[in-house]
Symmetry: C2
DNA sequence: AGATTTGTCTACCAAATGGTAGAGACGTGA
DNA sequence: TCACGTCTCTACCATTTGGTAGACAAATCT
């Protein structure tokens, strides 16, 4: 693999298209056109469409894991601050790379093999989050509930907020920098209130 | 339109397929096969694929609006109970008709004309929810924040929980009746905590 | 220099897609 | 009985899809 640049460009472009328009509705030709190359070049770097999808999922998982791992390791003992840091970390791609969470959300539409592929990549960080929430609950520093489902709820809230600007617009929201800052502020307040120990 | 039954069956089936597999990845042949009819019969009842999509969106909006309107009008003065009723109402289709919220969520992937079509149908109930939240905040009976964004956050949380069983499974959740009840319980507690006045 | 590997291309192909044209079965009213 | 509207069908069609085969140029190795 002497020349990685074309490969990387295909990967990046595919992530954007898959994440914004949905995996199933993006053709190899669409990706090739966006990269400025022929479809056969895409099939040279990835042996099939399915192979490309897995590679793009890996690419997305890499990007997400780096961000989340850093936030998890962040300073501060207070759990609400720590969760807050992770929320902000996951929300950052919403601004910088909107397709990223959109692609992760696509998992529901994929077939078993791709689902398992992505699950394998994310399971480590997921388990770490759940066990952290559980331990803080046991210490009475977070509202007591099922940590597993809570983690899912948190994910849904953050991911939904980030991936459904259209829905937010229906609620009257305006999609610009100020609007995004406002959403992030409300999101943090929402999560903080939901986790406050009782 | 003497015989409406074929039309309705197409509508129902299309809603299920669109909602579970995504609008873009379901062909007219897929729908026809599932109904037990030929593609041309589908095109007889709906003049084009795009027309079918709009009709299905209407069908979904009808179903959702009935449920939500009833819950909004529900008894009780305490706002936390009222929001709780709406959450339960929106969550009910998750069990009875999983495709419904999945289809609404698909709006992000549709093109402008379909988006506006659906928005037009949902805007009334959306505005009612937002102004209700605002008035209760002004009375100090809900945590004070931006009611518009809060409505979006609530939607994201409920919809995400209902439409992403795959993600919940990654968090260790088991998709059965008991699991669904547990998710609903946690969801209600989560929302209640997030709205508690400070 | 000559041989080989690497990367992109053109030329195809079979299958699936949304859509058109129109035949035929069926019932209903005159 | 006959004409007419309703409903589903078969037969096509142009376009797009994922994928194969192989030509060709540039770089790399011997």
């Amino acid at each position: 693999m002497v020349n990685g640049s074309t490969r990387i460009r295909i990967l990046d472009t595919a992530l954007d298209l898959f994440g914004t328009r949905g995996v199933g509705t993006v053709s190899l030709d669409d990706i090739a056109d966006a990269v400025g190359v022929r479809k056969q070049t895409v099939l040279y770097w990835f042996k099939s469409r399915s192979g490309l999808i897995d590679a793009v999922l890996d690419h997305a998982a890499d990007e997400l894991l780096v961000v989340v791992e850093a936030a998890i390791r962040s300073q501060g003992d207070e759990p609400l601050d720590r969760v807050d840091a992770v929320v902000c970390a996951v929300f950052r791609p919403v601004v910088r790379r909107p397709a990223l969470l959109g692609l992760i959300r696509e998992v529901t539409r994929l077939d078993e093999s791709h689902i398992n592929h992505l699950r394998g990549r994310l399971s480590v960080v997921v388990e770490r989050c759940v066990s952290y929430l559980r331990s803080e609950m046991e210490k009475g520093r977070l509202r007591t509930c099922d940590p597993m489902v809570l983690a899912g709820l948190l994910y849904s809230t953050v991911s939904g907020t980030g991936t459904e600007p259209i829905v937010l617009e229906t609620f009257g929201w305006e999609p610009n920098a100020a609007g995004l800052r406002q959403v992030r502020r409300e999101l943090r307040g929402f999560v903080r209130a939901a986790l406050q120990p009782n």
